[in-house]
């Protein structure tokens, strides 16, 4: 694997988009970041392979942007190791291996869209033609417009065009559709998706589960600076979805309930038990036949509710589900 990819990389070294491929795109180990008293990132480990499309999902303030800033070399972690294609982040940026569409990255209002792209492109050793990236970002029609006269969505597309200039191996997007309307959001993601189909590695941060589900192969769930789940969208949704069987069962024990076939986790509130499960039929059947449980109630958890439970600050809500997530 390693040998073959190395030879393919070296044989392609004369072409521009030589794959630094099949190697580890991002490797974070034991990353901590503190801002004064705020411990924003608490021991995060992430490995992203080339070619993956990864959603970094979590509510605002979960530590997504802090982690992304570290991957891009915009800030240094207080502890831990960072490697982007095996290099320190700043070097990976200098080689044009990684680029980003940031939430807060500023633009100069007095340059035109075309000039902004030309300027940024001139800073790289090699870059794609301005016309090409403008077309791929869907803003080739407004190259002569002043940046200050562009809408929020157009400015975001401009940032996307700038990020495409170095033809990066890894593209990072930090909540790229914030402030866009539904239409703009859909169009923007269509452009990203079209681009990702060419084999680029993509890491995007979002706080919408539906966005993560629709566009990622893998979802990393982060909450209060810690990774609480990491898996395919189907796995994450299975974690998040499922049903809850509620019954009256005095004297029940949590470990016994969790051991019921089909149960994920259980919770006891006085005489009431709550069993979270994917197979509610099996759990219900077991409770009614093998235990003296009564007053049975089966409820479905919405995906968004469950996501909130996984990532929210509510301690009781998260306690029950993080167990399942691990």
């Amino acid at each position: 694997m390693t040998a073959s990819s190395a030879s393919s990389a070296s044989s392609a070294s004369s072409t521009f988009s030589a794959p630094a491929a099949t190697s580890l795109a991002v490797g974070l180990r034991g990353i901590h970041k503190r801002f004064g008293h705020v411990h924003a990132v608490k021991g995060v480990d992430i490995s992203i392979q080339s070619g993956e499309i990864v959603a970094f999902l979590g509510p605002n303030g979960a530590g997504k942007t802090s982690t992304i800033d570290i991957i891009l070399g915009l800030s240094r972690p207080n502890a831990g190791e960072v490697a982007v294609y095996g290099m320190p982040p700043r070097r990976a940026v200098a080689y044009g291996l990684v680029s980003a569409v940031m939430q807060t990255g500023g633009l100069l209002k007095d340059l035109t869209v075309g000039e902004t792209v030309e300027y940024t492109g001139s800073l790289f050793a090699r870059s794609r033609p301005a016309a090409e990236v403008l077309r791929r970002a869907g803003i080739d029609g407004i190259a002569d417009r002043k940046v200050g006269k562009c809408s929020g969505g157009e400015q975001q597309r401009l940032r996307f065009a700038m990020a495409l200039l170095s033809d990066p191996e890894l593209l990072i997007l930090d909540e790229p559709t914030t402030g866009m309307d539904v239409e703009g959001r859909r169009n923007f993601w269509a452009s990203i998706r079209e681009d990702a189909e060419r084999g680029r590695t993509v890491l995007f941060a979002t706080h919408y589960l539906e966005e993560a589900d629709a566009y990622a192969d893998r979802i990393i769930l982060i909450r209060l600076g810690e990774i609480v789940a990491d898996g395919t969208p189907a796995q994450i949704k299975a974690l998040a979805a499922g049903r809850t069987v509620r019954a009256t069962l005095p004297g029940a024990r949590e470990d016994e309930l969790s051991a019921i076939p089909g149960a994920d986790s259980a919770e006891i509130r006085g005489d009431t038990v709550l069993v979270h499960c994917k197979d509610s039929d099996a759990v219900a059947r077991y409770l009614l036949t093998a235990t003296p449980a009564r007053d049975l109630e089966i409820t479905t958890r919405g995906i968004e509710d469950a996501f909130l439970a996984l990532t929210g600050d509510g301690a009781d809500a998260s306690a029950q589900t993080t167990g399942a997530a691990r």
Partner: protein, 264 residues
């Protein structure tokens, strides 16, 4: 891993000179010239000042060293335009930091030193434009008179001397993260120009003020650029003043610059 890394590096490479290049410089200059206020303050105002104060018919006949008083005022006004231009060029970093553009640039190979070099070069080109315009307009009026080689030498000294204020602009630009830095700069430069004797000869000020003026940053430079015309000996204090302020501005800019790059 190592072979992949070197393959990626080989095929891509990093830009020469930390990303400094002519395309970026051209766009920076175009951007500055697009700013009407910058053009008015650095190109048009010095010309108007010269036309207002330098064309008094008596000045054309009043001797000043190897030339006339009109030439003396032309030098003062071209220095005013040049230092205003280089200060504005340097102070652009303030606006770019406030807008978040500096952060955007951190996603490119452009190194912080190359960024500063880009700003200084932009400032110098703007300064050159200002010096050329003031001198050309002065020449067209036919009033200033001095030997051609002194005229050229003086213009060159004014231009190179204005580099001092590119450092000043950078220092202030890194110090004040405000969109309004240009207005503040305009006021500061006006005060420094009066104190340096650019608008009114220092001999016309009260004695205490004259002593104080010798410590202000435009004093040394102003005296030095008039020296070729006046032909007297060069006072050591002028050089001390110039070098001391150069050290202060460069050190200040470097200090703020380091803090800034450590932060992001």
């Amino acid at each position: 891993m190592t072979s992949q890394l070197s393959a990626a590096s080989l095929s891509r490479g990093v830009p020469a000179a930390g990303g400094f290049n002519i395309t970026a410089l051209r766009l920076e200059i175009r951007r500055l010239l697009r700013n009407r206020r910058t053009v008015i303050f650095t190109m048009i105002a010095p010309v108007i000042f010269f036309l207002a104060f330098g064309l008094n018919s008596a000045y054309a006949f009043q001797k000043a060293g190897h030339g006339n008083v009109s030439a003396f005022i032309l030098i003062s006004m071209s220095l005013y335009g040049a230092v205003l231009a280089t200060t504005s060029g340097g102070a652009m970093v303030s606006i770019e930091r406030a807008a978040g553009w500096s952060r955007q640039l951190r996603l490119t190979p452009l190194t912080p030193v190359a960024y500063v070099a880009l700003k200084v070069c932009t400032a110098l080109v703007l300064g050159l434009g200002s010096v050329v315009i003031v001198n050309v307009v002065g020449g067209i009026t036919g009033k200033p008179s001095m030997p051609l080689h002194l005229w050229a030498l003086t213009a060159l000294c004014v231009w190179l001397g204005s580099l001092l204020f590119a450092a000043f602009g950078l220092f202030i630009g890194y110090l004040l993260p405000t969109e309004n830095v240009m207005q503040i700069m305009g006021l500061i430069m006006m005060l420094l120009s009066f104190a340096g004797g650019l608008f009114i000869p220092l001999s016309q000020y009260p004695h205490a003020f004259q002593v104080l003026a010798k410590f202000t940053p435009l004093y040394g430079l102003n005296e030095l650029v008039h020296a070729p015309l006046l032909g007297g000996s060069v006072d050591g204090w002028w050089l001390v003043n110039l070098l001391a302020w150069l050290v202060i501005f460069v050190a200040g800019a470097a200090w703020r610059f380091r803090r800034d790059t450590a932060r992001v």
